[in-house]
Every structure is written in C-alpha cells, then in structure tokens.
Amino acid sequence: MATSAYWRTRIQRYRLMGNKCSSCNKVFFPPRLVCPHCGSVKLDECKLPEKGRLVDYTVVYSAPKGYETVIPYVIGLVELENGVKVVAPITDVDVDEVKEGMEVELTIRKLPEQLEGGMICYTYKFRPVIK
C-alpha cells in the first residue's frame, strides 16, 4: 500500500470509524461508498463501539511479508456492541489463553510492516477487557 493509501485510511484504522446510511440507518465497517441495502450514497461517518465479544478466532502461523517475525498471532472475529462484525488482530493475550466469547476492547497498535521510507504503521486491534 502506498503512503497516500495508508494516510487515506488512517481514520478508520486509528479510530474504528465506519459509516452509516442516512436513508436506512445500516452501519458499515469498513466504510462503504454506496449502501448495499438501499443504494443511497449518503453515508455519514459513524464511530463504532470500542467494545465487543470475540465470536471466534484463529492462530496464524503462515504470514504475509513483514509479519513472519510476529507469528504466531491471533486473528479474531469480533462482534461489536451494535452488532457490527469486524475481523481484526487480537493482542495482549497469549495464544493459549484466547477464549471464544471473551469480552474485548479496541486498542491501537504498531504493525511489524512499515511503509517505504520506514514510516511506522498502526492499526486497530482488540485486547481482552480487564475487569
């Protein structure tokens, strides 16, 4: 991904920003350009809940370039409090201690991959909620 593309997606990436159709109120993540339900192109930015539940997860051992250094890592299917689902990295938990149904919350973390010129990249991840 080019620097400009990384920059362009920074809001959704850093703040878990989706969007919401102003006609039918459906919420999307990643943000959509056209509402697939009603066809409206009027979609407003919509901050997604930062908490959710880990529906299921997998531990990755075969990684893309840049991620070999961090295997094994966990990728989870998270259902947010408003029902929107997100596939995202799960962090701050040992691969043996991840549990289905775990309460998780948003956090922003550094990625192993860098942009050309060495610019450090960040993205949303989810971590277990500490009670």
Binding site: M1, A5, Y6, T9, R13, F28, F29, P30, P36, D56, Y57, T58, V59, V60, Y61, S62, A63, P64, K65, G66, Y67, E68, V70, Y73, I75, L77, V84, K85, V86, V87, A88, P89, L111, P112, E113, C121, T123
Partner: protein, 387 residues
Amino acid sequence: MREVAVVSVGYTRVSEHWEKSIKALFVEAALKALENADLSAKSLDGIYVANVFAGCLQGQTNLANVLADSLGLYDKFAISIDAGGASGALAIHEAYKDVAHGVRDLVMVCGVEKMSEASPQEIVSALTSVVDQEHLKYTGITVHSLAALIYKTYLKRFNKKQEDVALMSVIDHEHAATCHHAQYPFKLSLETIMSSAILADPIRVLEAISPSDGSAAIIMCLHEKAKELGLPHVKLVTSQIARDRLNLTERDDLLSMKALVEAAQRAYSSAGIRPSDLSFVELYDDYSIMGVIALEKLGLCGPGEGVELLKSGEVKLSGSIPVNTFGGLKARGAPLGAIGVYQAIEAFLQLTGNAGPNQVKNARIGLTHTSCGFNSIVVINLFEVCC
C-alpha cells in the same frame, strides 16, 4: 441460443515449471489443444485468457494481448479475465455466451498461472489480494485466517471433527495418484495430513492449495461445427454465475454460501436435472473445509452431512458420485486462474472416455464448481456427453 461444444483440450502438468515462462506454458497448452483437433491457430476467432497474478508476480499486465501475440494471433480478438480462483470458469462462461449468441464460432479458452516465482510470504499476500485490500492490507489478516474462521464455525455447528473434514484431502490425493497431470501424484494418509504444519489454526498445510504453475486450454465451438469437424466432443449444457458479499463479516452466516446455492440451483433447473443425475463433480476445494461445504451446497447431501458423504466412500472413483476425479485443487494442483479450465478438461476427459485409470463408469454428465473469495463469485458449468 446455439448449442456449444468443447472439441479439444491441451494442458501442461501442474507443477513448479522453473524452466518455463508464462508465455511458454501458454503456448504449450494452446498448441496441444490445436494439434489434438488438427486445427491451426488462424482458424480461431479469438482467445479468452484467465489469469490472476501475472500483474503482481511477473509484472506482466495486458496478458491476453501478449499471449495472443506469442501464438501469432495478433489480428484476433483476445481478452483477459481476472476473477481470482473463478477466472478460468468465468472465461469459459464468457466464451460460452459468445458462441451461444453467435458473436464468435470457434474460440480458445486458456487459463495460465505461474506462482512458483514467489516466496511463501508473497504467495500469502497474493492469495489474500483477492479480498478487499484497502481494508485488509496492514492488518495481518490472511486468506487462511478467514478460511479458518469458516472451518471452526462448521466444526462447532455440526459437531464434527477435523479428521473427518481432512478426509477431503486424502481422497483428492488418492485420485491424483494415477493422474499424469497432477502436481502431487501420490497418496497421503490422514495421519500425515493431520501432523503437517498449521497455516491458521485449525487448517493444516496439507489441507490447502500450494503454489502451482500450469496452463490449460480448451477449444469451444458451435455444436454443429463440432459434428462437421468429426471431433470427439462434449456439450457445455449451461454455465451459471452468481455472486455474494465479499466481506465475510457482512454475510448473515459464514456458512450460507448463497452464491454457490444459487448458481447450482440455476444450473440444475436450466439443464432439467437433479444432483442425483450427475456422474461426477469437480469442486473447488482450496481448503478441505470448502470442499466439504461445497458437497452440501451443491445438493449432494444435506447440511452437515458432507463428512458422512466423504466417509461413505461414495465420492471415490468407484462410488455413486465421484468427486475431484483427478485430485482436485489439493492434489492435481491449483494454478489459480487456470483451475476452472483444468476442471473443464477433466470433465472432457471423463465424458469422452479418455480418463484412463481415473475413468468414471458410464459418465454422462459432469459438474464443475469454481469459486473466488469464499464463494463470493461462483461459476457452475455443466458438461454432457454427446450421443
């Protein structure tokens, strides 16, 4: 609509062809297909080229133009088709429509892919590139991890064991053991598969496709013309395509596979047949679990009964519904853009009685299922023997 026939096939073995370029692979398969039909390249009205990765792995775009030129077809119609794993079958679909609607009379469809030039990490990235990259790039999410989520959902919902699902790969390898064009022509035990490395838990390396090089070409024409030419041929009865949401998180259910169900139903009703009328099926098992789900969604068994069908042995060459008769994606190999064309060739070999030791008895009608992005694009082609 005019009736469409496949009159000839040509293909390379699926392998890691270090010594051959993507052009050389294409020319080899194309010339074999022409030679087998005693046709010259000049007699073709055009070519349909299916490929996914030439742009990112070979740095070669405009592929159909380059390949047509390399065959000396610089003055004929040529089009590139990229729909991930469904590319080959979609190219056949497009050629089918053109011949059926009288746009062209004699055409070649070729699928070609050269994946062996990439490192394992580049392959993971390339395979993942068929899903939305603006969203997924810079997350570490891989195509394997998405398949793993589907796999775990299936095991939980139907209370099945991974050992049962992995049988899909055992059967693929059993069928590939006697297939000359297979990338991995040997048997594999369930124990070997279950003890292989993990890609994304629970998926084992030996339950998934590996990088492959290969080229597959078929010549299609009007059914009338096939008879005129006096060539052994099969009818392409129908070619159906359906689509579903690309993002798994936007689907109601990870196991619904709506496009597969829709394309299959349309194919059956268009041909006036039922699943039980099929003589064999070549299905898209990029992961063992996707093969098991396909058995169910194609209507060969009920929901959650895919593993029972595998265990029953009915999907073997001697069974009532042989599946992946030359080894499927796992063992014949999966040069991505060429998969659908290899499947069509396998249907052709079965229906013309040229399948050798892999011949299915009394093969009358065969189905190929090709998919991209967890069945977000599905192409179902139905081939029938000609009397």
